[in-house]
Amino acid sequence: MFDIVAFIPRAIGQSVPLLFGCSGEILTEKSGNLNLGIPGVMYVGGISGVIGAFFYEQHCAGGNMNGFLAIMIPLLCSLLGSLLMGLIYCLLTVSLRANQNVTGLAMTTFGVGIGNFFGGSLIKLSGADVPSIALSRTSAFYSRALPFASKMGWFGKVFLSYGFLCYAAFLIAIVSAIVLFKTRKGLHLRAVGENPSTADAAGINVSRYKYFATCIGCMIAGLGGLYYVMDYASGVWSNDAFGDRGWLAIALVIFSIWNPLIGIFASILFGGLYIVYLYIPTGMDYMEFKELYKMIPYVVTLLVLVLTSMRNKKENQPPASLGLSYFREER
């Protein structure tokens, strides 16, 4: 029978990387930057964390690991890696006014390349004496559930059995929704995304807002990569395992009509859709239909995209200047 108590934690586990990517990309897109480099950023976020954790594990190979350092080192490495990616993107599109689509695609090529290159060659490059990158000790710190989760039956399983990054994902989504829609900074940011020349005339520093929103967005998205490796994949990096989740996160932004709160529910829905094929009748005769089930998230996103543009409701539209670089002297 369909076991809902087992299904929900798995769906949520799938949804967390998507939610990180989605919240990050919403912030970015609200500033008018369509960052198609998010898949690359998430790879970089993941591998930077892996590199940090790898060297720390090597450092204390025999002894005990300090729990605080074991969490903080990969976390900071991951944030730094994705921050650098965000800076590259901003330098090119905001300061140098390059085309955002091309820059984003180049970032994805670059980021996925970095991830797979270091993932595949880290052991060789560092000359370490281990067969594969399996950071199970670091991962144990990341995926540690709340201590009383196992005692609380189905409630503990559904709500309390996750590592801290999972709760961080939900928290970040809520905080970014509040910042975007309830604060003055958020208002300014949305103004920049809708109509930068008006915002500029009102005395808002357009470039600064774009830089901050995009870099913070990239750092949030990078955490999605970190969560995937450290928690979901139990610290095992394998090339291309992260797959197309980055693109799915971009799809999710549309699906949640640029609202991180809707993003929370949408990401759980997508997480469920992403693994629902595991729950349909198995056996060799049905193998091909699993592939069709995997198509559902994309079809649904396309439909939402079309429906929102058909209804043409003002608050559900993409930011008006999405994808355009702003140059003050252009008329």
Binding site: S95, L96, T109, G113, F117
Partner: protein, 362 residues
């Protein structure tokens, strides 16, 4: 920058003479190659000149390598040319990947279901028509959405890519040989039914010839035909196009049919001419790479020959480095990324210039 008097401000340039703008681009490529050399030296500990040597070795090391370089280049060139009319219209068709895949899928479907049942010439004709048709339909869907409801085409074409990928994954399992292998294997290996003919006894020549023909016709189409003119008007300003009485919806749909159809043709060449099999990764991300190729060439079909060559050269060269020095294949992606960043960034210095604050200029 937000001080009362900024240190500098940015001014749009008049059009630079072509030798200056190409000089800037060349300087950017040289700078990028230097950075790539430094990075390769750091990671591999090699003499950078040796690294550049292996780049050339990888692309031109032997007769066969030259042919493969040319063949890869022509496929990338066809896809880039396919995307170009859409881009000129400011329709960001990121869906080349999906359009190529459905073209490939249609080709494979014809080869598998009709192989040996009808004469080979007829089969190839049906393959060609269905591949182009499939690609066109994949381009048509986002075009209709855009024309009717102004749906964001970057995002809708992106979604169409993954729908196509899953469709191919589905049929791969339907057609898998042997069962449970998740691969189709070489289609019609014994009979060669539906394999595209070899030109002058060379299996590499057909895509190259088609690519050249496409380049010339696309150049003429965009520059000298009425359609090409309409495309550039819509691209410059949709309002102007409407004002002078052009039917923009019709132009968008027509252009995307062409764009998707050409991508489908690339799919035909990949399955019928080169690989004789189908996988979800048969196009290896070239639909995305083509976006950059087309943009780097400023949407000029002739220039695209050089930009597609540049990208393929990098890919093959970096591939050679990775095999020679036991590095992972993804090293090529990193180098390509760096070079793209430089070229993308240098465009700024072509269209803008920085004016410093003059003393006493208050």
């Amino acid at each position: 920058m937000n001080k009362k008097e900024p240190l500098f401000h940015i001014v749009k340039r008049d059009v630079l003479p072509w030798y200056k703008s190409w000089g800037i681009r060349a300087a950017a490529i040289v700078a990028a190659l230097v950075v790539c050399g430094i990075i390769t030296t750091i990671t591999t500990g090699l003499n950078p000149f040796k690294v550049y040597g292996s780049f050339i070795q990888g692309a031109f090391g032997s007769g066969r390598k030259v042919w493969i370089t040319m063949q890869n280049m022509s496929i990338l060139l066809i896809i880039s040319l396919a995307l170009t009319p859409a881009f000129k219209m400011r329709f960001w068709n990121i869906g080349g990947e999906g359009q190529v895949l459905v073209g490939a899928l249609a080709t494979a479907a014809c080869m598998i279901t009709l192989g040996d049942k009808i004469p080979n010439a007829l089969l190839i004709l049906i393959m060609t028509v269905s591949a182009i048709l499939a690609g066109s339909i994949w381009g048509l869907i986002p075009a209709i959405f855009k024309a009717k409801w102004n749906t964001n085409e970057t995002l809708s074409t992106l979604m169409m890519n993954y729908i196509a990928t899953q469709l191919v994954a589905f049929f791969t399992i339907v057609w898998e040989v042997p069962k449970g292998s998740f691969t189709v294997g070489i289609i019609n290996q014994s009979t060669n039914a539906g394999w595209l003919p070899q030109l002058f006894g060379s299996k590499y020549l057909l895509p190259i010839v088609i690519a050249l023909l496409t380049t010339i016709s696309m150049f003429v189409y965009l520059k000298y035909s009425k359609h090409g003119y309409e495309i550039s008007v819509v691209g410059e300003s949709e309002k102007t196009a409407k004002y002078v009485g052009m039917k923009t919806e019709k132009i968008i749909i027509r252009t995307m049919l062409l764009s998707g159809g050409l991508c489908g043709l690339a799919g035909l060449l990949l399955v019928g001419g080169i690989n004789h099999t189908i996988t979800t990764t048969i196009n290896s991300g070239q639909g995305f790479t083509a976006v950059m190729v087309s943009w780097l060439a400023k949407f000029n079909p002739i220039t695209m020959i050089f930009t597609s060559f540049l990208i393929i050269f990098l890919e093959r060269g970096a591939g050679e480095i990775s095999t020679n020095f036991g590095l992972n294949q993804s090293f090529a992606d990193i180098l390509t990324g760096i070079i793209l960043f430089f070229i993308i960034g240098c465009e700024f210095f072509i269209s803008y210039r920085i004016v410093g604050r003059k003393k006493g200029d208050k």
